[in-house]
Amino acid sequence: MGELKSKADRRFQIFWNTFFIVISIVAIIPIVRVFSMSLSSKDAILAGKVFLYPVQFTAEAYVRSFQSGSFLSSFIYSVFLMLGSTVVCVVMTVLAAYPLSKKKLKGGTIIMTLFVLTMYLDPGIIPKYLNVRDLKLIDTFWALIIPEALSAYNMIIMCTAFRGLDSSLYEAAKIDGCNEIQTLFRVALPLVYPTLATLALFYAVGRWNRLSDVLYYVNSSKLYTVQMVLKQLIESVKISQEEGIASQLVADNIKSASIVISMTPMVIAYPFIQKYFTKGIMLGAVKG
């Protein structure tokens, strides 16, 4: 296009390039600032000297966060919970999606409807809580895994992925003498790997970040996830904010370090997550 050389276009490009750089900087400042506060001394923060880079650099806050036993142990526990929960969710999703992807399966449509309806019919949290309580799961590790073990939405995404495979592959496997379970493991799963990885990441991020079910289903502090421990820390600060107390119960640098530690798994995995998530959103969200 001749437009490429026009002055107006160059001005447009410069303006919007600058605009988006500014937007990006503004959007990243909150995160950068938490990092720099976590690496600054308490006094520097109180004096209001810390902005975008650490002042009076010290890793003391991290040492102290990890020394307070509850944070470290809840971090390790949360990692295991996340991994365990992801495995359970993925297994459940595949168990449901693979058979339902077979159009020939008798009763498949009815079962599919059973799943789809759960996306719209929400019984609300209290009946769910009473159900978990009836099953004696309150205040157990499993209360944080089982109630959210299968999402119909993700199951449908998985199902679509299985349906997208070339049916001749299934026929070839059958001729070679594979039964359905062998076909699933040797033919189907390796081919839908990208979708599987995406869903696993969806489940993992969801589990890591979710606070609500820890509040609902768990009472004993040894089952508290990182988010829950962090919530308590932040709340102690909120109270001091409300009461106008200048000296906070938990120093800002320790709080920042805790925030940074709790977001580390997500930030480290982000470049890798981003690739899959971008695909993942497209898998489900948009028809147009």
Partner: protein, 311 residues
């Protein structure tokens, strides 16, 4: 055609052979189906306690029926109306302030040719999507509290500090802005994908016809992604009475309770904290029913208007 053919072959297969070939599939389905019945459908039936006077010892089945008394009590309660209004106001703000932002960013981001900046913006804007509301609330308090960064800057310019987190009116804006920060990147990706699927020759034709860039954006680009925009709008409109728990719960505090108490946090505090299971279930049920009606009607309206529906 294919479907009919396969159906035909299935019919010819004797039942025994069919089972021999497929029993493993049914076995796989067994666990998820039992799971769905136990953890999704059983609680739906448990929802009947909304119409009962729940007694812990009698259990869901043996508690006495009290008809609509719980609903009547809810409709007569100020806290309920406050929670409902706040839910609507906060969601409406998300819609009015938050909905156009990713569309505008996407449209202009798509116009710039520097792919590095495009990628960088996308990456940075998408990052907060992976942070929990606990973390975001922590970051927001550090930024907007009276001793926070924003007030530091305001004080330096000689103005008096603003009570972002303790004035209910201003708090709402903090809530909305944090929502944009957290979720704009997600929608941005959807809109960018829709944009890259558009036909660039239409824009070129408009250029040759003398359209300015803004005219092209308004009359060529945006109409092309209108189906995506309308689907996103339908989904958000359908969810206007339902609200996530973590976000208002973590963002709110006792000083802004009059603005931050929403249905989800209300149900939590009345039901799980105060133990009024029947009443809280009624509130939750009201929300679910209104939600379903809204989704169905919005879907229908959009289909009537010639747009695609979500169902």
């Amino acid at each position: 055609m294919k479907n009919i053919k396969t159906k035909g072959t299935v019919r010819k297969v004797p039942f025994k052979v069919y089972i021999r070939n497929t029993w493993q599939l049914y076995l796989m389905l067994l666990i998820p189906v039992i799971y769905m019945l136990m953890f999704r459908y059983k609680p739906m039936i448990g929802g009947i306690i909304a119409f009962k006077k729940f007694n812990v010892f009698a259990g869901i089945w043996n508690s006495p029926w009290i008809g609509l008394a719980n609903f009547r009590e809810a409709f007569g309660s100020r806290d309920f109306w406050n929670a409902l209004m706040n839910t609507l106001v906060l969601n409406a703000g998300d819609l009015i302030l938050g909905f156009p932002v990713p569309i505008l960013i996407a449209v202009f981001l798509f116009e710039i040719r520097n792919l590095r900046i495009r990628k960088l913006t996308q990456t940075i804007l998408y990052l907060p999507n992976f942070l929990s509301w606990v973390i975001i609330a922590g970051i927001i308090t550090q930024l907007f509290s009276n001793s926070g960064l924003v007030n530091d800057i305001i004080r330096k310019t000689g103005l008096s500090e603003i009570n972002f987190l303790s004035s209910p009116f201003i708090w709402r804006f903090v809530y909305w802005i944090s929502g944009i920060w957290q979720s704009a990147g997600y929608s941005l990706i959807i809109y960018l994908a829709a944009l890259s699927a558009t036909d660039s020759s239409l824009g070129e034709a408009a250029y040759i016809d003398g359209a300015t860039r803004l005219q092209r954006i308004a009359h060529v680009t945006i109409p092309q992604i209108k189906p995506t925009i309308s689907i996103m709008l339908i989904m958000q409109l359908g969810k206007i009475v339902s609200i996530d728990f973590d976000r208002p719960y973590m963002m709110g505090n006792t000083l802004v309770k009059s603005a931050s108490d929403v249905i989800s946090t209300y149900v939590y505090s009345v039901g799980l904290q105060a133990g009024r299971f029947d009443f809280a279930t009624a509130v939750g049920l009201f929300q679910s029913v209104v939600g379903i009606i809204l989704i169905l009607s919005v879907n229908k309206i959009s289909k009537k208007m010639g747009e695609e529906g979500i169902m």
